[in-house]
């Protein structure tokens, strides 16, 4: 495992660097020294089996879970910062369960996320026209796909320098999965994305660069096409 960790890319071009990240929650040691770097462009996939610690890694980057280790964003050590301060450095987060406020309307969900003086509603409404037509609908009454649009829309509203997107296609119909993939592809052209995703076909479409986590440690860093057999073994799937 440690062999893989040493094959990190050159850190000078990396926008996000994570060093020796540990997370302990309720007596269980979920992350056991995770280290990897995310370059300043394109999509980096964060892979692993269920319970490997992918979601916890994203939450630990933002400081949403108690953690030790170092998180450097754009050359600045943000390890001691509070979550809202880290986010304000320019990180958009679309969490696993979408984190949509069900009691708030779609428009209110977006308004809450506004950080920039001129939020990019034109972009969000162009990508997701439904968010405009359903502006006054309570977000809790939306379908899963529509809620995902709200979650991604919130992340795209500000001029972020990086997006953390956690399983955006979980539980969505195939047609919506394609739509989400298209949006991510388009977003990735302008902003780097750290993407947690189980749908490997989708990951392949977006990137070849992956970090694989197994049992709270980084088990592989590199390209998806590099060593398919090892990936297959680590992910526990029949075809990668």
């Amino acid at each position: 495992m440690s062999d893989a960790q040493r094959s990190e890319p050159d850190s000078t071009a990396d926008l996000l660097q994570i060093q020796d990240l540990h997370v302990r929650i309720g007596g269980s040691h979920i992350l056991q020294g995770v280290s990897f770097a995310v370059p300043g462009s394109g999509v980096t996939a964060l892979l692993g089996r269920n319970g490997a610690g992918k979601t916890t890694t994203l939450r630990a980057v933002l400081g949403l879970v108690p953690r030790t280790g170092t998180v450097v964003f754009d050359g600045e050590d943000v390890s001691g910062r509070r979550p809202y301060e880290i986010v304000r450095r320019g990180i958009g987060y679309a969490p696993e369960d979408r984190g949509v406020f069900g009691g708030l309307t779609v428009a209110e969900n977006l308004r809450l996320a506004e950080r920039d003086p001129s939020p990019r509603y034109d972009l969000v409404y162009e990508l997701f026209p439904e968010l405009r037509t359903r502006a006054k609908q309570a977000a809790g009454t939306l379908s899963g796909g529509q809620q995902q649009m709200v979650a991604i829309g919130r992340a795209l509203l500000n001029d972020n320098r990086m997006l953390l997107v956690d399983e955006p296609t979980k539980g969505l119909a195939p047609k919506i999965v394609t739509e989400v993939a298209e949006v991510l592809e388009r977003a990735a052209a302008t902003v780097p994305i750290l993407l947690v995703e189980q749908n490997l076909a989708l990951v392949r479409r977006l990137t070849d660069r992956a970090v694989l986590i197994a049992e709270g440690r980084v088990a592989y860093t590199g390209t998806l096409s590099d060593d398919p057999e090892r990936l297959q073994e680590l992910l526990g799937v029949s075809r990668v």
């Binding site: 708030l104 209110e108 809450l112 996320a113």
Partner: protein, 287 residues
């Protein structure tokens, strides 16, 4: 008929008092997960400050002084005592319980344990005839104040940026933080609102009971907590409904059964609501 009208309006007046206390408690619990046992102290300080100011100034000004005192105290308590303990809920409860006890003792040391007479101001000392019943006007003052505060809070929650943050924070505080918002500022805001409303309740309770004691806040706080639980922790509308329900049940049971049955009925009501709807009358939403 006139008894019915009098009981209803008195029950609503009592409910109004409960609402003023419970609304702040509910928002504070809903957003910050703080069980604020010091809330009765905000009420007590509001009542004593109003009583003190009423000897120098007209009633309206005295109430404003009381509300200001309660607000300042609430903000100070949040910043100095609650904020350092957000990750430690048990210590937080202990601090608010201790503060409440210490505050009551301080009020007692300053003004004595005996009730201080509060002279009902002009209009509230008289009665109005409603459907044959002579209803003391302080009931209308209480109901009017509670309705105004309810409307103002709904406007705050629905129309302002901080209101939006509070509503979102009641649902999912961590996600609000993950959007780059310093949710702790909203904690201070809800403490200020809660302190102001509780202090207003103190001033109005002084008018309603005609006297104040250091323990006034503590006895009302118990019913306010029941209202918060029945209403669904964190919900303002649920809080209003529960306050009306508790006030009416208490009045009617005390009159038609026996004195003291009202209080017992409220606890019974709480038990029934918890059995039938464990989440309270409404779900977990701020409005």
């Amino acid at each position: 008929m006139s008894t019915l009208v009098l009981l209803t309006l008195t029950g609503l007046g009592l409910g109004a008092l409960y609402f003023l206390i419970a609304s702040g408690l509910s928002l504070i619990f809903g957003l910050a997960d703080v069980l604020n046992f010091a809330h009765g102290l905000f009420l007590g300080v509001g009542a004593y400050a109003t009583w003190w100011a009423a000897t120098y100034a007209p009633f309206g000004v005295a109430v404003a002084v009381g509300v200001l005192a309660g607000t300042i105290l609430a903000v100070a308590v949040e910043l100095a005592l609650i904020r350092p303990l957000y990750a430690r809920p048990i210590q937080q409860v202990l601090v608010t319980v201790g503060l409440s006890a210490a505050g009551v003792a301080l009020l007692q040391a300053g003004w004595g344990a005996d009730p201080l007479t509060f002279t009902k101001p002009g209009w509230t000392a008289t009665t109005t005839r409603v459907l044959g019943a002579a209803v003391p006007n302080d009931r209308f003052l209480l109901i009017g104040a509670a309705v105004a505060v309810f409307a103002a809070l709904l406007l705050f929650l629905r129309r302002t940026r901080y209101g939006l943050i509070v509503r979102a924070g009641v649902e999912d505080r961590a996600m609000v933080t993950a959007l780059g918002i310093d949710v702790r500022k909203a904690f201070t805001v809800v403490f200020a609102i809660g302190g102001a409303a509780a202090a207003l309740a103190g001033a109005l309770a002084a008018t309603y009971f005609g006297s104040i004691t250091p323990g006034l806040g503590g006895s009302l706080l118990i019913f306010a907590f029941i209202v918060v639980v029945i209403g669904g922790m964190g919900s303002l509308t649920g809080c209003a409904l529960a306050a009306v329900l508790v006030g009416l049940v208490q009045q009617f049971a005390n009159y038609y059964a026996a004195a003291g049955v009202g209080e017992a009925s409220v606890v019974l009501l709480l038990a029934v609501v918890l059995l039938v709807r464990p989440g309270g009358l409404t779900g977990r939403t701020a409005t």
